[in-house]
Symmetry: C2
Subunit: 121 residues, 2 copies
């Protein structure tokens, strides 16, 4: 798989894929073809797909790097990896709660404007 294909598939740009690699997010650097071009494996693509989900859910790059480092350590790091994901899970829940709570205010405001537009106040 070429970098362009992985970009296509994951929605990241080739630039970002190289950046992710540089910054330590890959389990291991993807193998190269004879021409020196990256040849991503299926496993690479799956890992990157996971990374995009973690990013999309708000995990900072630094935490993802820690996660990648742990993953490279293999079975020894199951507990640490689980803890990292649990911490992230807590952040996600908190963010959902925050959004839900702020949604009330936004809804209230929208409703207020609706009534004002209809001339009720």
């Amino acid at each position: 798989m070429t970098i362009a294909q992985v970009a296509q598939r994951t929605g990241l740009t080739a630039h970002t894929l190289r950046y992710y690699e540089r910054t330590g997010l890959m389990l291991e650097p993807p193998p190269r073809g004879d021409n020196g071009h990256r040849r991503y494996t299926e496993r690479d693509a799956d890992w990157i797909a996971l990374l995009t989900r973690l990013r999309a859910s708000g995990m900072p790059i630094a935490a993802m790097r820690r996660y990648a480092e742990l993953a490279r350590r293999g079975r020894d790091s199951y507990v640490a990896r689980k803890e990292l994901l649990e911490a992230h899970r807590a952040d996600m829940i908190a963010k959902i709660e925050q959004l839900r709570s702020d949604l009330e205010i936004v809804d209230y405001k929208i409703d207020l404007y609706s009534r004002r537009i209809r001339g009720e106040e």
Copy 2:
């Protein structure tokens, strides 16, 4: 109300409050005391509180600025303000959905690690 008191109340720093003012987020610049210090009104504090909720829910500064501009225009901008908030509302809903969806994967991963730790695979 001094800038420090508003900072205390809203959780923003004095630095950020001045920045928000500079960047056009206030309805009008807060009045000054004889010493040239800002003297925030209750209305200022309420407005800033609203700003913090919009920020917390992910609204970019640029959109908040647009919202403030509209608010300065008064009754004429009810429709536009409503539309702006509705657009933001849609973003918030989308983000909640995104989080919910990513939560499934994180939960799945956590569960996987739990089982591996217990030696089930």
